[in-house]
């Protein structure tokens, strides 16, 4: 693995010997990985290598898959969040998630934003929150005149930014993104990428992508997974220009995947 230049980076999430199984089928094998605060970390690798599985373990969305079980630890705020006694709903307020396909609720744009804060009981100033969140997601100007229209009337790219806005409205510390642009056209993709760049001042972002150019453009650190194993982790610039592992080099030069 590459030596990290800035060793004083603070790890906000640590994967420790993380293994994940679907029944008898092991999808993730003993991964050790630190994610740094207020940085964008990209998880890359060919389809089926376990990227989404790893990401979903961080906000316990894997709980919904019956046959799945996990070994090892995911440490966040000095706690192993995989602990069965930990309340995953509390965790998910803090660690938000943006999905592969935009999934706005079949409600108004306004209600999409306030729903999370409302059910979690900290909604104080809805109008202000809606404006702030939509501005943060670079969507305000496009929707400010139709906040009470259905969110399903927005374009795909707008819907995805709305999903980012509703995540931001929860004021999380970490945002997980699972291939957030894979269902979008190139123009919408660029907008989301620019947005990620702005968001990292306030949030730690983990983004799964199988698009290497995207990883190179948006991330500070990159982790390369292959067949459930962590092959290489390092600063994005270094990893792309000077990979240590042969497999990484083959992958980023497009020899497979």
């Amino acid at each position: 693995m590459t030596e990290l230049k800035d060793k004083d980076q603070q790890a906000i999430i640590q994967l420790k010997d993380l293994s994940i199984f679907y029944g008898d089928n092991q999808a993730v094998n003993k991964i050790n990985l630190d994610f740094y605060k207020n940085k964008v970390t990209a998880i890359i690798g060919p389809s089926g290598c376990g990227k989404s599985t790893v990401l979903r373990s961080i906000n316990r969305m894997n709980d919904f898959i019956d046959i799945l079980h996990t070994k090892g630890e995911v440490v966040y705020e000095n706690q192993n969040i995989l602990d069965k006694n930990l309340d995953p709903t509390r965790l998910r307020r803090d660690i938000g998630m943006v999905f592969q396909r935009p999934n706005p609720f079949p409600k108004s744009i306004y209600n999409n934003i306030i729903w999370g804060p409302k059910i979690n009981g900290f909604l104080k100033n809805p109008d202000e929150l809606v404006e702030k969140s939509l501005r943060r997601a670079a969507l305000w100007d496009e929707v400010k005149d139709r906040l009470h229209d259905s969110a399903l009337g927005l374009s795909g790219g707008q819907q995805q930014r709305l999903c980012i806005a509703r995540t931001v409205a929860m004021n999380p510390s970490v945002i997980l993104m699972d291939e957030p642009c894979s269902a979008l056209d190139p123009k919408a993709t660029i907008r989301i990428e620019n947005l990620i760049d702005e968001l990292k001042d306030d949030y730690t972002i983990l983004i799964v992508t199988h698009n290497m150019q995207q990883a190179a453009r948006v991330s500070d650190y990159t982790a390369f997974l292959y067949e459930g194993e962590l092959v290489e982790f390092g600063e994005t610039d270094g990893l792309f220009t000077n990979p240590v592992e042969k497999q990484t080099e083959d992958y980023i030069t497009g020899r497979f995947g």
């Binding site: 999905f99 999934n103 609720f105 729903w115």
Partner: protein, 284 residues
């Protein structure tokens, strides 16, 4: 003779249109007949009078009120129970569990049981065993049983049609199951649920057999005041008039049918209105 693809296409289209036209025609003829016969009898007095042996003084007031009471009570019982049952089966149990499967299978089977059987059940359980006598509540409970399976099955379908992505999106915002089910899934399913409600309530309003079974009277000279009062309903009253020899009563029966259709129509309008209100946020 072999037909080209486009010929087959237009032939099929034509057959479909013809079949639709025939059913519409039957409906129109039926309506025309009823209107022609019943319209002369349809006036405020008809709505505001109780039944009488003399056709000129007979009205439908008690049956109309009875039907409205029965519909209201049935809706109040069957919709919450049916929707909650479906919610429980879909959102709170594991669909792969064999007991759940068995229950679901039985519910779908119940939808096909003839209504007279429900009448018998109502008579045994509500009227006799629970001592409710010939009351509105016994009738409403019986009709609720009758329409529950349809409400449960259509509600299940509506809940299943809500994409899991909505559920996951909600959970990812720190929602608990309670919030996901009642704040996201149920509202998203309401248009579909209303369709089931319309279908089943339309069935309930036209039923007479099970209500006769539990003791709907054919001659009621008062409007019910409470759920323990005896009652009659529109179809029973209509049936009673049709069976009389005097011509005038047949006209009254036709007028009664018009009232029944009007009630049905009003009810459906309300349901469609609710459906549209929630549909607003669906596809656009």
């Amino acid at each position: 003779m072999s037909l080209s693809r486009s010929q087959k296409n237009s032939l099929f289209k034509f057959s479909c249109q013809a079949v639709t036209a025939i059913s519409l025609l039957v409906l129109v003829v039926l309506l025309y007949h009823i209107m022609k016969e019943g319209f002369a009898y349809l006036n405020f007095d008809f709505l505001n009078h109780f039944p009488s042996r003399r056709p000129s003084r007979a009205g439908i007031k008690s049956a109309l009120f009875g039907s409205l009471w029965i519909m209201g009570l049935t809706a109040m019982i069957a919709i919450p129970v049916g929707v909650c049952t479906a919610l429980f089966l879909e959102e709170y149990t594991n669909r792969k569990n064999k007991w759940v499967k068995l229950v679901e299978l039985n519910i779908s089977n119940l939808a096909g049981v003839p209504s007279i059987v429900y009448g018998l059940l109502g008579l045994t359980v509500f009227v006799r065993f629970l001592g409710m006598d010939r009351s509105l509540i016994a009738g409403a409970l019986t009709l609720s049983l009758l329409i529950l399976p349809v409400i449960v099955v259509t509600t299940q379908g509506a809940l299943r049609a809500v994409p899991d992505a909505i559920r996951y999106g909600a959970y990812a915002l720190g929602a608990r199951r309670y919030h996901v089910v009642f704040g996201q899934v149920l509202p998203a399913a309401i248009p579909g649920i209303m369709t089931g409600v319309i279908l089943s309530m339309s069935r309930a309003i036209g039923e007479s057999a099970p209500l006769i079974m539990v003791g709907a009277l054919s001659f009621v000279a008062f409007t019910p005041e409470s759920i323990t009062d005896p009652f009659t309903v529109l179809p029973v009253q209509i049936y009673n008039w049709v069976g009389r020899p005097q011509e005038a009563f047949h006209g009254l029966a036709a007028a009664g049918i018009i009232v029944l259709l009007a009630v049905l129509f009003t009810f459906n309008i309300i349901a469609v209105f609710i459906r549209e209100k929630f549909q607003r946020y669906k596809n656009d």
